[in-house]
């Protein structure tokens, strides 16, 4: 009974946290863009505009829903959920902290500890692309179709480099379990960003491509494709796409924190209190989330051929090289 209750509370807190962070990210995006462009940004709804995401959500719910002529009814309705669902499923295996004891109950700060946590995130997270492809196809619009096509080509090209970058980390740690990967980086000097700097860089770049963010947001690409895959979407279906995109960003940031920045480890404070560890985890994740926004409002979008060239001619060879060096060093040192 107690275990079920504890588990239920963890699920509620972690999913609530994910959705809350995703909603706040929409506000942060506008606030940071305003700051970068010397504007004020949303500041009318609530103190400092903090209630803006809520107002946006309510507005989306009351918008008219449009089903375009000639659209595939089933897939058109189903596609947004297909994007949002995998992003929310992946957060289940992220370890937010070590063991903690509260009210006499000892538990770990994650919903599930899988032996194959990394594979689970890659497998389930990769399914989010179906929502974009199928949504683009089902809309019966050439702009949407082109957006979906680009998304699929981009996804296949960059997922390979991402997996190879992660494989190098796995080789160093010797485990597919995210909790073990984080525990192996308990000391500040053991963080994978120092041991695998190239893999870290590759992961961060592919992270942008996998979540369809600037400068790789070719699925959307508003100057050429109107709105890309979501051109025909309105109301809360459009909202679901956004929720999915921002949730995927949050999960990717959490994954990057776990893989490269030592998860919940606090620099120079061994055996830190679990609250401090959780705060450290959130601060590191926030850095990656800020990077997402910072890059979006700094770099221009690539051209599509540049995107493919970068994926196949730069990222993939670098990832292979990194894996080769890692493997060679590991076998030479006999680790």
């Amino acid at each position: 009974m107690n275990t079920i209750l504890v588990w239920l509370i963890k699920v509620l807190i972690i999913y609530g946290g994910l959705l809350g962070t995703a909603a706040l990210m929409t506000l942060a995006e506008r606030k940071v863009s305003a700051w970068i462009q010397h504007r004020k940004g949303p500041n009318r709804v609530g103190p400092c505009g903090i209630l803006q995401p809520l107002a946006d959500g309510v507005k989306l719910f009351f918008k008219e829903e449009v089903l375009p002529a000639g659209a595939n009814r089933l897939l058109f309705r189903f596609a947004p959920a297909l994007t949002a669902l995998p992003a929310m499923m992946t957060v289940a295996v992220i370890p937010f902290g070590g063991e903690l004891e509260l009210f006499g109950i000892t538990t770990k700060l994650s919903i599930a500890d899988l032996d194959i946590g990394v594979l689970y995130i890659l497998a389930v997270g990769g399914l989010g692309i179906y929502g974009i492809i199928l949504g683009g196809w089902a809309s019966n619009s050439k702009y949407s179709l082109l957006g979906g096509l680009r998304a699929s080509a981009q996804m296949v090209s960059y997922e390979l480099s991402m997996i190879l970058a992660i494989v190098a980390v796995i080789a160093v740690t010797g485990s597919l379990d995210l909790r073990e990967i984080a525990q192996a980086q308990a000391a500040f000097t053991d963080w994978n960003i120092w041991r695998q700097p190239l893999a870290c860089g590759l992961f961060v770049v592919t992270m942008f491509a996998e979540t369809n963010r600037h400068p790789f947001d070719f699925a959307e690409c508003e100057p050429e494709l109107v709105g890309g895959f979501h051109t025909e979407y309105s109301s809360m279906k459009f909202g679901l796409y956004f929720l999915g995109e921002y949730s995927a960003m949050v999960v990717m940031a959490c994954l990057a924190t776990t893989l490269f920045l030592g998860g919940w480890s606090v620099p120079f404070v061994p055996e830190a209190h679990w609250l401090l560890g959780l705060a450290a985890f959130m601060a590191k994740t926030a850095c990656f989330l800020f990077l997402y926004i910072w890059v979006r409002w700094t770099l221009p979008r690539l051209r599509f051929d540049q995107l493919m060239g970068l994926g196949w001619k730069v990222m993939l060879p670098l990832a292979l090289l990194n894996l080769f060096i890692t493997g060679a060093l590991l076998s030479l040192t006999g680790a």
Partner: protein, 183 residues
């Protein structure tokens, strides 16, 4: 509980596999194939092969099917029925194809039956590390079940050759469009 889940997934896998070959629109075929892969992944999970399930979703669900969708959407094939009816070899070809497919399936099933699945094939794999599980898997595929495994790969190869034949356009037609482009 595990048994009920297994039968649900098995029926779903077979039903969506039938959907792959019977669906008119290629997109529906791809989605049915995706359904098959997911059902199989759940069956792997029920058998305790977490690794296999994750790889199944990652490789087939995440990469290969996305590529399929990409190609289908890019080619945007016309109505397959019309293309098929115009071909004089369509009807005899279909009959031969069905006969070959049925005999291939019979061969595969016969081989599997000859190897007699153990009675406890639904029980979880003996506990062990991920490495032990993968070794068990490799032993099963390349040791005991190597013959059914190879037959399945030959059938896949036959399907690939079939796709090549179907997708190959007539030379004159190709030249015509080229001439039109040059005009």
């Amino acid at each position: 509980m595990v048994n009920i889940l297994f039968y649900i997934c098995a029926v779903a896998a077979i039903a969506s596999a039938l959907g792959v070959v019977s669906a008119r629109s290629p997109i529906n075929s791809v989605l049915s194939l995706l359904g098959t892969f997911f059902s199989l992944a759940v069956i792997y999970l029920l058998a305790g092969f977490q690794f296999m399930a994750a790889i199944q979703i990652l490789v087939y669900g995440g990469a290969i099917m996305v590529l399929f969708l990409f190609v289908i959407m890019l080619l945007n094939l016309g109505n397959p029925e019309q293309v098929a009816q115009a071909d004089p070899l369509f009807k005899p070809g279909r009959a031969t194809g069905v006969a070959l497919a049925v005999s291939g399936a019979a061969l595969l099933l016969g081989l599997l039956a000859a190897h007699a699945l153990p009675a406890d094939h639904l029980s979880p794999v003996p506990a062990g590390s991920g490495r032990a599980m993968i070794e068990t898997l490799a032993d099963a595929i390349f040791g005991k079940y190597v013959l059914p495994f190879e037959v399945a790969s030959v059938m896949l190869l036959a399907a690939a050759v079939g796709v090549l034949v179907l997708a190959k356009r007539e030379r004159p037609g190709l030249l015509d469009t080229e001439a039109e482009d040059n005009r």
